[in-house]
């Protein structure tokens, strides 16, 4: 399984590298040489500008926020939570100190808007898809993600253990996630699934029983069942789609910085840092039965 994971990661890295290579030709010869901090082309020279959405939801972000901060729920610059930890580890590998990292608020919809980006990269649980990679450049995987189903305890849907059994229920996903396509693809539901703009709206609908089940990524599912909706449970996770699904950081199309980040991620994977960050922040996100 470990070998498979490494192979997959290598494949993703290779894909990302070729994707960026088509955008720029100068850089391909010696990628490591151009990754010296001083030679990087950045939004703001000397600073690594990282984008994410606000509010930054747990468990991807943690540590809370300070009063008067523009960040709701969690301030990413505290370095706590999975994504800040990964971002700072990458930044450190590229030679940036903690104070040389600046976080900016980038709504998901703005992360792929045409025009000049205001971030060097955006880290916001964005799944890689081939279609998206035509518009932006993705880093290699920093998290291989599974989708899971959250339901209220004791409801009819909570006893369902198969994908086919879910067909007749009112399911929902969050906007911009690949979960919606997992519902359509894997379950082929008879009722039109709902799609919510925010985590808060989806959670409210689940509490209200306006939906029977909510499909989100596995760590978010465990966070919802553990902290947001007390009477809910993660009833199962979806079998991974062919080729797997992973989160990647988003770059301006063709930004050569992506290959530097890929290099940093490769090191972090090889020396076990990424696995350690994962076990620190996402340890609870395991153990849901796979829906067949």
């Amino acid at each position: 399984m470990r070998a498979g994971l490494i192979a997959l990661t290598a494949l993703a890295a290779a894909l990302a590298a070729t994707a960026t290579a088509t955008g720029t030709t100068a850089r391909t010869a010696a990628p490591s040489a151009s990754c010296v901090k001083a030679s990087l082309t950045l939004v703001k020279p000397g600073t690594l500008t990282i984008g994410t959405d606000n509010p930054a939801y747990p468990p991807w972000y943690g540590g809370g926020t300070t009063k008067g901060s523009k960040w709701q729920l969690n301030d990413p610059s505290n370095g706590k939570g999975f994504e800040p930890a990964v971002a700072y580890a990458v930044a450190s590998k590229l030679g940036f100190t903690k104070s040389e990292v600046n976080w900016v608020y980038v709504p998901f919809n703005n992360s792929f808007a045409p025009g000049k980006k205001k971030f060097d990269f955006d880290i916001n649980q964005i799944s890689y898809t081939a279609a998206r990679a035509k518009v932006v450049t993705f880093s290699s995987s920093y998290y291989d993600v599974d989708q899971a189903l959250v339901v209220l305890k004791g409801t009819p849907i909570s006893h369902v253990r198969s994908l086919a059994g879910l067909r007749g229920f009112k399911l929902a996903a969050e906007l911009g996630t690949t979960s919606y396509y997992d519902i359509l693809g894997a379950i082929k539901p008879t009722k039109q699934p709902s799609v919510f703009d925010t985590d808060a709206a989806a959670v409210q609908a689940l509490k209200n029983k306006q939906i029977d089940g909510l499909v989100v990524d596995l760590p978010t599912a465990f966070y919802i069942s553990g902290a947001e909706v007390p009477n809910s449970t993660v009833s199962g996770q979806f079998p991974p789609p062919r080729g797997g699904e992973h989160f990647g950081m988003v770059f301006q199309k063709g930004n050569p910085l992506a290959s530097c980040v890929d290099g940093a991620l490769k090191t972090l994977k090889a020396n076990g840092t990424l696995a350690k960050i994962k076990s620190t922040w996402l340890s609870k996100a395991t153990g849901a039965p796979v829906l067949k």
Binding site: P114, V135, Q192, Q204, A205, N208
Partner: protein, 292 residues
């Protein structure tokens, strides 16, 4: 009293056109006007098209907003989701027209006895014209089902319709009221002197004239309602705009937004032309009739 039977065309009727063709007089002068209009239109659009297509970001904008392939692939899904918009505004409009008329009649009730009813009607219209539509939809759509009352539907479509009916009834009641107040008091006096009761006067003399006069503004509000059905999407319902967001987020290409916009426009433009035609016809009638 009413002018319904009196439809002799006046002398200037033949020359009257809708506003779009204003200034296109008949005769030889008309040909020159048409030529000037045509030329100025061509020059105007040529400048706009040139400015847009020669802007530095145009190639990217064309790819991300006007991608023919994306348009074709997103159209069937969005058109299918648009059926929900049509359903919502058709159902809502029926209730709006009825409830708004009731409110308007209540507001025009004379005498101190009806003061509480009048005050309520005024408070209602003031409140629901003042609150942003999206907030009413969000508060009702997520709030009402949270009460967990039995026999109260949790359907998002249901609460979306309720919210739109509440908002638009307030607007439309004002339109009706303007129509009622535009009927000259002598009409009521004449009707009463013929022995009609107050209710009969309202039903057979005031309202027929009032409603006919406000048909154009009623249609105007109907167009507004059609567009605002897109707001019901925040409750998770997959209507045309939500479907276009889903498609956009899947591909990071904004063309589906344009697809949805075209669908709305395809519906509202004929209605807007029809409204203009009604206004023109109404003006013709009044100018030829002379009374009322």
């Amino acid at each position: 009293m009413a002018v319904e039977g009196d439809r002799r065309p006046g002398p200037e009727v033949a020359g009257r056109r809708s506003k779009l063709l204003a200034g296109w007089g008949p005769g030889g002068d008309g040909r020159r006007s048409v030529a000037i209009a045509l030329l100025s239109t061509i020059v105007f659009f040529a400048i706009v098209v040139f400015a847009v297509t020669h802007s530095p970001g145009w190639p990217e904008v064309r790819k991300t907003f006007f991608d023919w392939g994306e348009f074709r692939s997103s159209l069937p899904e969005i058109a299918s989701a648009f059926k929900l918009n049509v359903k919502i505004f058709c159902i809502a409009e029926v209730f709006i027209l009825i409830f708004a008329l009731l409110i308007a009649v209540i507001r025009s009730l004379p005498g101190p006895v009806f003061f509480p009813l009048r005050a309520l009607a005024i408070a209602y219209a003031d409140f629901f014209r003042g609150v942003p539509t999206i907030l009413v939809i969000a508060i009702l759509g997520f709030g009402a089902p949270a009460l967990q009352l039995k026999h109260v539907p949790t359907s998002t479509t249901f609460w979306g319709i309720v919210a739109l009916v509440l908002i638009y009834t307030a607007y439309v009641s004002e339109v009706y009221r303007a129509g009622i107040e535009s009927v000259h008091p002598s009409q009521e006096a004449a009707a009463r002197s013929l022995g009609l009761s107050r209710a009969q006067t309202l039903r057979h003399v005031i309202l027929p004239q009032a409603v006919r006069r406000v048909i154009p503004p009623l249609l105007n509000d109907f167009i507004g309602l059609q567009k605002d059905t897109a707001l019901v999407g925040i409750l998770g319902a997959v209507e045309a705009f939500k479907q276009s967001e889903i498609d956009t987020d899947a591909t990071f290409n904004y063309t589906p937004y344009v697809t949805a916009a075209l669908l709305f426009v395809a519906l509202t433009i004929p209605l807007a032309r029809f409204t203009d035609w009604l206004i023109a016809r109404d003006r013709r009638r009044r100018q030829s009739g002379g009374v009322a």
